[in-house]
């Protein structure tokens, strides 16, 4: 475990800081290596370069979904904001590549039954890297009944 993170957890356990403060400190710790390493004037530029696909700098895949009530059946609009570390995607793809070939057909069938036309044998780590390289900012608008819309944004950050 990271030394700074351990110190924060120790302080939390000892009651020196409360849960809110611990959360803020850990969040600051996560952003420090990227933000702290460069002067403030260049931060905006570097964000742009990350968005323009600088490989190795992007750390997370962000999926934002905004749906109105007609799409979800719930009262008011619903937003879903998911941040997934790209490392997790890579690890998942590595895990998927270990599935024995004899199970691929069964999996493909099961996926297509649920409306996902996925070919498991095509999931390879190099495909993911290629996808990340090209994934700058993808926006998908889904038209629903009565002209209502759901917006899905997928991008790396």
């Amino acid at each position: 475990m990271n030394e700074h993170r351990r110190q924060i957890l120790d302080m939390l356990a000892a009651g020196t800081i409360n849960a809110d403060e611990a959360e803020r400190l850990i969040a600051a710790l996560e952003t420090e290596p990227e933000a702290g390493a460069q002067p403030a004037s260049t931060r905006a530029e570097s964000t742009t370069s990350v968005k323009s696909g600088a490989k190795g700098k992007v750390k997370y895949l962000r999926v934002l979904v905004e749906a109105d009530e007609s799409m979800t059946g719930m009262k008011g609009s619903t937003t879903v904001n998911v941040r997934v570390p790209l490392q997790l995607l890579r690890a998942g793809v590595r895990l998927a590549s270990l599935i024995p070939p004899q199970a691929h057909e069964q999996l493909d069938e099961a996926f297509s039954k649920h409306g996902v036309p996925l070919n498991v044998s095509q999931i390879k780590p190099e495909n993911l890297d290629e996808l990340i390289d090209h994934l700058e900012d993808l926006t998908v608008d889904v038209d629903g009944k009565d002209g209502n819309q759901t917006r899905v944004r997928v991008f790396c950050e």
Partner: protein, 86 residues
């Protein structure tokens, strides 16, 4: 780095707030105690599936270690749910 904390926050329109810190690092204790059994089960499953146990263990470990940073937020009608893994 393996996940050390999980934070679950629920905020409802009625003003009720629920916040739960889950110290995931404490799971190391039962995990280490059960490690021989886990390894045996993993070995049996991987051999039955004709997979390389070492590669499977590596891949599972990589998944576990890449969980920190995961953040899920859902908001609807003033209700908000946040799950963060630190």
């Amino acid at each position: 780095m393996t996940p050390s904390l999980a934070l679950v926050r629920i905020h409802t329109t009625g003003g009720k707030n629920f916040r739960l810190w889950l110290p995931l690092f404490l799971l190391w204790i039962p995990f280490l105690l059960l490690l021989p059994l886990i390894l045996l089960a993993l070995l049996a499953v991987t051999l039955a599936g004709r997979m390389n146990p070492w590669r499977v263990t590596n891949a599972l470990w990589a998944v576990l270690c890449s969980l920190p940073g995961t953040d899920v937020r859902v908001a609807s009608d003033g209700n908000r749910v946040t799950v963060r893994i630190l």
